[in-house]
């Protein structure tokens, strides 16, 4: 096929068309950068754009990693090798980064990276372009021959240089964008961490009931690090032991107390006041006592609960939902949370001291009035019953006079202990004053309250003390009143229970008397 020579006008038209085509390719590079695709798919598009613009059938893009100094073939089309990595020396990197003009070389004239050129000898490459932005090496572009090995015209060589620069900028922008995305992701994670911690600490900060606080803290830790087993132990300085206060997951394996001297892990944290994070290897496993392994598991985090230097206890976490090891993030969050927990535990303990009686560990009269007021309101709102039991130890004055105050105190402690053991979590056992006790039972009717009172009465009756070889038996009298059956408000409720208690005393003591109902009796028909 013979071609007629082009006229000057036709030649200009063809050149204009060629420039238009290259401009379109440049605009496509811009479009490509705006597409939300992966880096690899963008690289492939850029490579195809370049190849299609120059009219070559094969090519590849290498990316340079400045940290490893590796030049890696990241994208290729029709090359014999799909994977290739070359390690660049410091000098080679410096030379490539210093290249000004030209950045594009005929393969035969490329004076650097001889091993790379040799590795692609089979591909009969045409050109190599150094991809760089300012003084930063981005990578390398290799391109094959045009159809029938037609040589590049000067214009095409110039296009290759221009497109190489654009591709270098595009890759650089993409890498910067990726870095920005990574930074944003890390920032989002931080924000999420702070948010989780904020919610967890908000939850525990205002809680003054120690038990509720510790249960909340345990649940919060499961939210923070997805643990399914864990426990909180408070330190009892007097007995040098840790008492189990709250736990996640099964507790049947857990003892109520751990003596400091029996646990290497507890002793270590007590001594160092530092968290202990352990992924126990098979080798280490044998160095852990069976008690420690039973309590803490094979892989765990144990953090001290400390407030202003005072060691309050430990929080232990093990076994994540995912079975994965604790991450750096988990460790960071748990440590920060434990600091917050320290302050909250200290506050709750102080509050507990303020509302409980030091000798019997029952609630004080002032707290009783405050709680009873709230419970009456709640019972009214939800139309529920509320019971108050007044308890008085029989002949306590005589007992004190006969055996002394020390024995009197011992009796008070024994009765308090019996009352404490008989109540539910939400009941309120109170030392009302002297030898008088009270018990507030929410959502309890007369039948239920009398049953509780009877049980306590029997337990007191069957208890005894040995004093100087003599057996001292004690009994107590009970008055039970129900809101709203026996009274219409808090004061009359206490009064009704008191009157019933007085009735028990009047009728021979060691008995339970229910208060008289104030409700109109329902007429019965026979």
């Amino acid at each position: 096929m013979t071609q007629e020579p082009l006229t000057l006008e036709q030649s200009y038209q063809q050149q204009a068309l060629r420039f238009e085509y290259v401009l379109k390719a440049l605009s496509d590079i811009g479009d490509e950068l705006c597409r939300v695709t992966s880096f690899d798919s963008q690289l492939r598009s850029l490579l195809h754009l370049l190849m299609g613009t120059l009219g070559v059938s094969k090519g590849g893009i290498f990316i340079f990693d400045s940290i490893s100094a590796h030049l890696t073939l990241r994208c290729s089309w029709k090359l014999t090798k799909k994977h290739a990595v070359f390690s660049l020396s410091h000098d080679e990197v410096e030379i490539l980064e210093r290249i000004n003009e030209p950045i594009t070389f005929a393969v035969a004239d490329f004076p650097f990276l001889k091993d790379l050129v040799a590795a692609f000898a089979e591909d009969d490459l045409n050109s190599i372009s150094v991809l760089k932005v300012r003084e930063k090496l981005i990578g390398l572009l290799i391109v094959g021959q045009k159809l029938k090995k037609a040589p590049f015209t000067d214009k095409e060589a110039s296009f290759l240089t221009t497109l190489s620069r654009n591709i270098a900028v595009a890759i650089n922008n993409f890498l910067l964008l990726t870095e920005l995305r990574e930074t944003n992701k890390r920032l989002d994670e931080k924000i999420q961490e702070v948010s989780i911690l904020y919610q967890a600490t908000q939850m525990i900060a205002s809680e003054l009931q120690l038990q509720t606080l510790l249960d909340m803290a345990m649940n919060a830790t499961s939210e923070i690090s997805e643990v399914i087993r864990g426990s909180i132990w408070l330190f009892d300085e007097e007995h040098e032991r840790f008492a189990l206060k709250s736990h996640l997951g099964d507790s049947f394996d857990l003892p109520e107390n751990i003596l400091l001297k029996d646990s290497v892990i507890c002793q270590s944290i007590f001594d160092t006041k530092e968290p202990l994070i352990k992924k126990v290897t098979a080798e280490e496993k044998y160095q852990i006592s069976s008690l420690d392994e039973k309590v803490f598991g094979a892989s765990f985090i144990v953090v001290p609960i400390i407030h202003q230097g005072e060691f309050l206890g430990i929080m232990h976490l093990c076994e994540k939902v995912s079975q994965a090891a604790f991450s750096e993030r988990d460790q960071r969050l748990i440590k920060v949370f434990a600091v917050q927990l320290g302050a909250a535990v200290k506050n709750a303990k102080l509050y507990e001291q303020a509302i409980t009686d030091g000798m019997t560990h029952l609630y004080l009269h002032r707290y009783f009035k405050q709680r009873l007021f709230d419970e009456v309101k709640r019972a009214t709102r939800f139309t529920r019953s509320l019971a108050v039991i007044m308890i008085d130890i029989d002949h306590f004055k005589k007992l004190n006079d006969s055996y002394g105050h020390q024995i009197g105190d011992e009796v008070l402690k024994r009765v308090a202990s019996i009352i404490r053991k008989a109540v539910r979590t939400h009941d309120l056992p109170v030392r009302y004053g002297g030898e008088e006790f009270a018990l507030v039972l929410p959502e309890t009717d007369m039948g239920g309250a009398v049953a509780v009172a009877e049980r306590i009465r029997r337990n007191i009756e069957s208890d005894y003390l040995e004093v100087a070889g003599k057996t001292v038996k004690i009994t107590a009298s009970f008055g039970v009143a129900i809101y709203p059956d026996s009274a219409s408000d808090m004061d009359t409720l206490i009064k009704a229970a008191d009157v019933a208690l007085y009735s028990s005393k009047e009728h021979g003591r060691n008995r339970v008397t229910p208060a008289v109902s104030i409700l109109p009796s329902t007429p019965t028909t026979e």
Partner: protein, 117 residues
């Protein structure tokens, strides 16, 4: 926005006919290369690419077609394009594609020409 690229192909005796649809710019256009490579391996050496439904072709599409031309040249086959727009015809000429492939107005002409050889 241009439609997503797709293609169908058909074997008509010794001829492979590929009909493309959509902007020949996406990496999906690599399918043209894949189909041609598969059929060349099966010794189908005459290929017609009908671009009636692909009026827009950019340099990504050109690069893939160059690859196809080279592969056909290597086995001594023949390639024809049909239903080219005026712009595409000019681009193909400028990039030298029509030095290695024939252009026909319609697919039937190309089939007739390939079958008569």
């Amino acid at each position: 926005m241009a439609d997503e690229f797709s293609l169908v192909h058909q074997i008509d005796g010794p001829v492979l006919i590929i009909r493309t649809k959509g902007y020949l710019n996406d990496l999906g256009a690599e399918q043209v290369d894949t189909v041609c490579s598969e059929q060349l391996q099966k010794n189908v050496k005459k290929i017609i690419i009908n671009l009636d439904q692909s009026p827009l072709i950019n340099s990504i599409g050109i690069s893939i077609l160059i690859g196809v031309i080279e592969a056909i040249e290597e086995v001594g086959g023949a390639l024809a394009f049909t239903n080219l727009t005026l712009t595409n015809r000019k681009t193909f000429e400028m990039m030298g594609l029509l030095q290695f492939a024939q252009a026909f107005d319609v697919e039937t002409d190309a089939v007739k020409a390939f079958k008569s050889v």
